[in-house]
Each structure stands twice: as C-alpha cells, then as structure tokens.
Symmetry: C2
Subunit: 257 residues, 2 copies
C-alpha cells in the first residue's frame, strides 16, 4: 500500500471511553485515523440501527490528533454515517473497541462492538472488534497494544475473506502472562439469567437483568478455552447466518401440500 | 406429544400489532398460548438486551383468550423474562412475528423479530420468526395463516437441529399466487444507505437513515430468489457465527512473534 491506510475507529462504550483512546493511539502507528463513535454508551445494543428517529453528528475535539465525530446513534449507525457522509474515500479497515468487557462466544450476538465491525464487513470493509476481559471503566489497556497492532497489521496485509470480520478478545492478565494468540471457533455457551425483582417506592414491581455465564463447550479449539488458558482469542465471524448443514434435512419435511 | 404444546408468542412490532394477533390466532389451533411482547415497537433493534435500565412487565388483557404480558424491553428481553419469570415450564416452541416487513437476507442481522427467535434458540427452545413482505400496519395477513400453521406443525413434530432457528418470510401476494414453500440460504445482499440530511428549526443539522436494498446474489437457492418468484422462504439460521472455513487460512498469519 503506497498511501497510508485510512482507518475508521469506533466503539460501543462511547467516544470518551479509555478503551477507544487506547485503540486510537495504536492506530496512529498504522495509518490515518478518523473516529466516529457514539456520544453515549451503547453496550448490549446488538445490531440495532436508528430508523424511527433522527441522527445527530457533531465534530468534536478530544485529543486533537485526528478528526472525531460524536454520533447520537448506535455503533452500526456510526459506521453507516462514516462511510456514507463523513469519509471521502472508503476506509482500508475499520476497528471497533477496545471494549470494556468480554465479547467472546455467545456475547458476539449482543455486542455493540461487534455490531460495528459486522456493519463494516457488510459494507465490504475489513473489520476487527477488540475487547478486553475487564468491565471497569479504568481497566488497564496497556498490554492490549501490541496484540492490537500485530493483528491489525496482519489484516491490513492479508485482507479478510469475503463476508468475514474478526472478533478478538484479550485476557485481563499481565503482558508476560499471555501465552500468545489463538485462532478459535465460538464456544457454545449462554447466560443463565437471574432476574432481580424489586418494588419501586410507588409499589410497582420491576426487574434488573442479571445472570451467570455458562460455558457448555469442552472443546479446546474455542475462544473460551483460549481465554481461560492465557491466550488472546481470534474468532473469524460471518454474517451469512445460514445453517447450511441443516437444509438437506429440512427439505425432507412436508412443507408443501 | 400427549399434552398440548406450550407456545410462547412474541414479536418486535409491539403487543397490539395485527401481525402478532394473526400469529396468536393460528397458535390456538396448535397448543396453549402465552404472549410476552414489547409494549411499543422495537423494529431494527437487532439483538439488543436491557442491562443498564429496569424492565417492567404488565399483565394485560387484549383479546382475553390467553395470558398476555406487555414488557418495557426488547424482543430478546421478552423471551428471557418469559422463560425465567413467567412460564412455569419450558415452552415447546417460541414463535415471533408476524413481522410487518421483510426479514430476508441481511435483514436477519437487524431484525428484532429474529432476535427473539434467536434468543429462544440460545435457551434451547425450537423457534421460528415469521415476516410478511408488507410494512403497513394494516397489511393483510390472511394468506399467511396456512403457511404459519404448516411450518409450525413440522417444527413441533421434527424439532430443530441444535443451535438452529427458522427465518420464514412470506410474499405479499394472494394465497393462490403463492407457489409453495422453499428451504433457502440467506442471499448476499445489503442496504445502500442514503442519509437524508436536514436542518431543524434551530439551525442544527440532523439525518434520517434511508436506503435502497441491493441483492448482489444471483443464486436460485436464496431467500431473495424464492420471494421474488412467489415462494415462502424458510432459512435455517444459526448463532454460531464462526466462519469455520477461514480458520485454516488465518492460521498461516504471523500472529505470534
């Protein structure tokens, strides 16, 4: 690539999040950076888009080293606005994160971070979502930097298969305790919900959603195994959701008279 | 099945939507019905869940033939609350819809209707999302009934493969013009966004997201082909998003020093 790559940076924790700031700092080593991120936290938004209300976009200055836009919408909205309204050429890559908290296994489905990466992938742009296994706003992202840089460089150099983006999760360990990077499949896991039922001062009942994460997958080729064993996990993720392997069997049903 | 099946019914257009009422009327022929649906429209919510605010659940009477609960959350929240707080046994099936508008091809990613079905699937419950290719609130759902019944009966009788739910789309045609039901793969398609930029009375700019749907897929085994040619499309959808076919190639990259 003769020109420096154009890098679109976004996230779902909001434009002021320390994880985003870390991601921006790494991307300056690799190319020209434009930031388009939600003006407020959008965690667990899944792949929401804003179609029934208006979107606002504001040019803001946070650290002054790159153009930055604060958007009233979801992470997927940010990518759509960036590509269609803000950037004058297609970005060479879109990176999302670094998320404060895991997006491994089934969390990919609920993740705003990965929704932004998927939206970029749908637009044909190579994309990566990065997450650190630490939900704290003041989490230490220092040890993430070298992994983020290596993986982004490899994607810039090799590209990604059509219809595929990467879901990268980084353990909350010291740098020297991390054993390396593993390419994985998504573990079969889910959340065992526990609703915390309360009564408000007016006597009306309400719920908080809480839950326990349950990994039912004993495979050693999964993201959960990698993370539990001190590796950074890289899962290639696709947005063709077709369960191709089941079509033949469903075709034996009596669906037509 | 000796007992009548327990059927959980939900949607994303809200508990008063005519599409939901049609779905309920068909389900009464097949089993015992419980409705848990959003109290307001939740279209394009993707797989959002409510973790940063409270959830309210209200027992309501709309047509009086079945227990119904109106929920302040997203379609995925409705399924979680139904399974964990409302129902005293696991439902035998969860049906979502009938959505007012298409959820074919890439729309599956943005769809609240399919998010509810996927959430049920994650909980291990066979699930189907139904959509009619008509966005009107007063769309005619009459011709959907027999297809909804046949497909639901087949799922009750055969079950679904582990980790798979069905995405069913129904053309907006007269019953006799529909040629039958086809099991399909998700077409490769996307939205070409067009943001409508306006200025509000206070002089501030804002955007409406609009766009054109572009089908780039010439395959005759896709949902788009089936719908364009007068068939009901049935796509088996999975929530293991791993692009398994790309793992071998990514394993050749230099991800470790």
């Amino acid at each position: 690539m003769a020109k420096r790559p154009l890098i679109l940076v976004t996230n779902d924790d909001g434009i002021t999040a320390p994880g985003l700031r870390t991601l921006i700092s790494v991307m300056h080593k690799l190319g020209d950076v434009v930031v388009v991120a939600p003006d407020s936290p959008q965690s667990a938004m899944g792949h929401a888009i804003t179609i029934n209300s208006t979107l606002h976009l504001e040019k803001v200055t946070i650290d002054g080293k790159q153009p930055e836009y604060s958007c009233s919408g979801t992470p997927a909205d940010c990518v759509k606005l960036a590509v269609n309204e803000i950037l004058d050429r297609r970005p060479d890559i879109c990176v999302s994160g670094i998320n404060h908290g895991s997006n491994s296994s089934i969390n990919v489905i609920y993740s705003g971070t990965m929704s932004a990466a998927l939206e970029a992938g749908i637009e044909g742009i190579p994309a990566i979502g990065f997450s650190l296994l630490d939900y704290n706003w003041n989490a230490n992202f220092e040890h993430c930097k070298s992994f983020v840089e290596i993986i982004t460089r490899e994607v810039l150099s090799h590209g990604l298969a059509d219809g595929v983006v990467l879901n990268v999760n980084i353990p909350n360990l010291e740098k020297k305790a991390i054993k390396g990077v593993k390419v994985c499949r998504q573990a079969r896991a889910n959340w065992k919900e526990e609703f915390d039922k309360r009564t408000n001062p007016m006597g009306r009942e309400y719920y908080w959603l809480t839950g326990k994460f349950v990994n039912m997958d004993n495979g050693e080729d999964t993201d959960e195994w990698a993370l539990a064993n001190g590796y950074v996990s890289v899962v290639p993720v696709q947005f063709d959701l077709t369960a191709h392997h089941t079509i033949r069997s469903i075709n034996t049903w009596k669906l037509n008279d």
